[in-house]
């Protein structure tokens, strides 16, 4: 599906035509440059690589400098591949106007990192629920993680403590409320993964 790379600006709310207050996220999307075209013959699949955001020349490796030179653009900070662009030429600019108001899009972002969290925060376990009756240091413990000599192991996928957040996540079927082409902004209904200022991709 064709898409665009953007930066999450933040959330606010706007009033719909019926007067309802709609929560929405503002994303600065594009302008993106087509930096590479992958073809069936050469790469085994069809895709278009887009670049977004400026990057200093001195911080760009020579290999990447050559890559951007082929597309005749300045170095870009983020590169993402998209499928489903019908016609794209090297060096083309992709703008936010590929989206229409009212259509539904998917947004991919990296969620806020919460660090190493226990099962109560990470999986919503209830905890022990009482501090007396023999409990000591067990208030937020996970409890049993399985039986004994059979199966004699812990099943895969058992919910335990660990890293929470900082993961790539997709929010699907979000409505586009507004496209402000002259400012490269798109306003999407609801929330999207990630912190303000983080990079997201919007897919049709």
């Amino acid at each position: 599906m064709p898409g665009i790379i953007g930066r999450k600006i933040g959330m606010t709310s706007i009033y719909s035509a019926e007067g309802k207050s709609l929560p929405c996220t503002v994303i600065e999307a594009g302008p993106c440059v087509v930096t590479q075209i992958k073809t069936q013959d050469r790469d085994g699949y069809e895709a278009v690589q887009l670049g977004f955001g400026e990057k200093k020349e001195k911080n760009t490796p020579n290999a990447l400098k050559g890559h951007f030179k082929k597309a005749n653009t300045s170095p870009k900070a983020k590169l993402v591949e998209f499928k489903g662009f019908d016609q794209a030429n090297l060096g083309d600019t992709v703008l936010v106007d590929i989206f229409e108001e009212g259509e539904f899009v998917d947004v991919v972002g990296t969620t806020k990192g919460k660090g190493f969290q226990g099962v109560v925060r990470r999986h919503g376990f209830g905890g022990v629920g009482q501090a007396t009756h023999g409990q000591h240091n067990r208030l937020r413990a996970p409890g049993s993680i399985g039986a004994c000599s059979y199966p004699a192991r812990v099943f895969k996928g058992m919910r335990m403590a660990g890293q929470m957040g900082n993961k790539r996540r997709l929010a699907s079927n979000l409505q586009v409320l507004k496209v402000i082409a002259e400012k490269n902004l798109v306003i999407i209904k609801g929330s999207i993964p990630g912190a303000n200022g983080s990079t997201v991709t919007i897919n049709k």
Binding site: I9, G10, M11, T12, S13, I14, Y15, G19, S21, V26, E28, K178, I180, K183, L185, I187
Partner: protein
Amino acid sequence: MSIIREIQKELTVANQLPVFGAGDTVIVAYKIVEGSKERIQQFQGVVLQRRGNGATETFTVRKMSGNIGVERIFPVNSPFIDGITIVKRGAVRRARIFYFRERTGKSARIREKKKFTA
């Protein structure tokens, strides 16, 4: 943040309302749509707080309905707000008068501001 401010300015039609704040007694005229009919409901009470800014700014109004306290939160720039009439300017020292919830009877009175300058 500035981009958000710009968008709020562009996309939100600001209501023309009188200046009011915590402690004031107000009547909020609120449009209610029932099917195809539209009528205006009035809600009179004391403003407990104003919070937020731009499109997300809201204010809380508390009234006593019989013995039961009722609070309603209105968005300041909601298109459903028909108008706000100020009944009384209250002299309070705080921007958020949550202590008012615990007051009943004589202690639940707010002194009126003698001189008001916007």
